[in-house]
Every structure is written in C-alpha cells, then in structure tokens.
Subunit: 220 residues, 2 copies
C-alpha cells in the first residue's frame, strides 16, 4: 500500500517536475526507500507549481487561436493573389491586355509561399492542441517554434518580394524606364495590394507565435 | 560555523538551481532550519547539474561566434549595396547614365534594413556575453530571442524586396513592358546580387540564433 502510493506520486512527479526531484532518489538510491522526507517535498512543490501549468495552458489556447487567425490571413492572401486577373476591354500602349499573378515571378512566389504557410498552419493545429492538453511537453513546442521561425522567413520574403513589385507597378521608376501599370490595371493592383497586406499580417502573427512558444518554453 | 556553511551553499544554489530547491525551505519554513536533509539534497543536485550549465555555456559561445559572423555578412551586404554605383561611359536608350542604390526604393530599404541589423548585432554582443558568463539567465536570452525574431523579418524582407528587383533587372518582364537593365549596368547588377546573397546569409544566421536561444531556454 505504501509502495503503490509512492509510485503513484512519482508518476505524477515525472510529468510535473522532471529534472529536479528525481535526482534525490537517484543519488541516495540506497536510503531513498526508507525515509519519506523527499516524497513529501515533492507533493508540496507539485501543489505550488499547478498555477504555472494553468498559465501555460492559457498560452497554448492563445497560440491555437492565433493559428486559426493566421490560417484566415494566409488563405485570404493566397486566394486573393491566386484568383485575381483582370482583362482590359480596350487597347493600351502595352501588348498585354490581361494581368494575372503568373505574369510576374514575384507574385508566383508569393502564392507558393502563402500556400505553403496555409498548409503548414493547418498541419500544426494538432501539435498546438497537444501543447494545450499537455502544457509541459517540450518537444512539440520546440518543433513548432523552429517551423514557425522558418515560416516567418518564408511569408515575409514572399510579402516583401510582392510588395516591391506592387510599389513599382503603382509608381514606376523613371531611372530604369519602368512605367507604372496601375493606371491600366487598377483593379488588379488594388487586389494585389490587399493580398500583400494580408501576407504581412500572417508574418506578424508568426513572429508573435515564435515569441509565445519561447515564453512557454522558458520554464518547464 | 554551521550556519555560514549553509548560507554559502544557498548562495551557490541561487545561481545554479533557482526554481526547484528554494521551495523546500519555503514550504517547510518552521522545520527547515532543524533537519539537514534538504541542504544535502541541494549539494548533490548541484553537482549533477554542472554538465548542463556547461552545455548551455557552449551554446552561448556558439551564439557569440554566430553573431560575429552575422555582423560580417550584414556589414558586407550594407557596404556592397551602399557603395555600388556605376556611371556609363556611353549613351544608351535610357536617359539615366548612372546607377546607384538610391535610384530604386527597394535598394534604399535594403541598405536601411541591413544597417539596422548590423547596429543591432553589435549592440547584442554584450547580452550574448552575459549569456556565456551566466548560462542560466533567462531575461537576456528571451530579449535576444524576441529581437532576433524581429531581425529575421527585417533582413528577410529587405533581401526579398531587393532580390525581386534584381531579378527584374536581370530578366526584365515582357508582360509589363519592363526591360532588363543589366546589359547596360552589368557591374552594378553583379555587385547588387552579391549584396542580396550576403543579406540572405544574415537572415539564415538570425534564424539559427532564434532556434539556438529557444533550445537554451528550454530547461532553466
């Protein structure tokens, strides 16, 4: 009865305070069974740590909500950029009368980057749920942090590449003799600008997710 | 004599294992002075944790070396882009005969972003040294992680914006009637491409620094 109660305490203890409290029984392996001093300490520290676990659970839920918001922003960016094409009803000085995202390599990259980010976000939701259910899991959170960091770079690069082209399309550049095309393709430019803004919002959410994961990792 | 020895043990203990071992004396405040059980456990866990502190110190040293490498890459990117200008000795179809970074807003942004990254990296070196000297400090490491994440976004956006313009300068775009300018400004294009590559290397190092800080934060 006494040994089963003690093993039950230790099992809780493995989840809650893995690093610190196991060692006394390891170093004092001969004596650890006889005196009940260390297990009593274990019980008190476990009780003192419970609010911290709840705080981590709150961070996990916030992480989950942010991911759903990011899915919305990333899908909006992908869909807006991917479906926008404008056919002009009249002749202009250009030989081209239709504008769509695959006319410019930067916009194609933008669609691919945001598509990958959307897919990753959907796939990351189960890991985020694991972090809510078990707030002290380290592996899943570290994996999410690493992949989120990669996604920060991916979405930011896509958004910045598209933004510099959108800027050029709006304003042109007299030094390089590149003319603005947004007078002709006004609707196209506006929708593309909206997609770029949505992608920057996605990148911002990813940055916030990285910091959130780091804060949650801080004290295991 | 006995009390001074015990306070010495506690002073070491505050640096090494702050979170776990203070609580036994706190929760058992009445009894903690009388029995010498918990301080003995403190001494053994401290000895068992020493390798973990050494491992963190190694991560800190690696962090410092990576930062110095990143300073080199960021300064190279800034200087290459900032000092490159090419004046053509002959007339072309363009009205412009000189190309420098401030002709294109994306390149100006690139120089500013990489300049900020260089300055941040130099200023972050003292914090990195703090993380080497005191491997268990959380605040400095978390601050570095947050600012590194911001710098990932900043350098990646600068590099991607410049890269999309460089791509356009190399290949042009027939759909929008933007001509390639690298036939005329060949030297300028090559140096700008080098600067973009250096900036992407800086961004990669920043991403690695974020992951490194997260790994070091994992277990305090």
């Amino acid at each position: 009865m006494d040994s089963s109660q003690k093993s039950g305490e230790m099992a809780i203890n493995i989840n809650e305070t893995k690093s610190a409290e196991i060692k006394p029984t390891k170093t004092k392996s001969g004596k650890g069974k006889s005196d009940l001093g260390p297990p009593i300490i274990v019980a008190t520290t476990k009780a003192a740590r419970d609010p911290k676990g709840g705080w981590k659970r709150g961070v996990g839920i916030f992480d989950f909500i942010l991911r759903i918001a990011a899915i919305g922003a990333a899908l909006a960016a992908t869909a807006t950029m991917g479906t926008t094409d404008q056919t002009l009803p009249f002749f202009t000085q250009f030989l081209q009368f239709q504008a769509s995202y695959d006319d410019l390599p930067a916009f194609t990259y933008f669609v691919i980057a945001n598509g990958i980010a959307s897919a990753y976000l959907v796939l990351s939701l189960p890991f985020s749920i694991v972090c809510i259910v078990r707030p002290h899991v380290v592996g899943a959170r570290l994996l999410l942090l690493i992949l989120d960091t990669v996604m920060v770079a991916l979405t930011t690069s896509g958004a910045a590449a598209a933004a510099s082209i959108v800027y050029l399309a709006h304003n042109g550049n007299p030094n390089t003799n590149w003319n603005a095309i947004c007078q002709q393709f006004n609707d196209f430019c506006q929708r593309v600008s909206g997609a770029v803004v949505a992608s920057f919002i996605t990148a911002l959410i990813f940055m916030f997710l990285v910091v959130l994961s780091a804060v949650a990792l801080r004290r295991n």
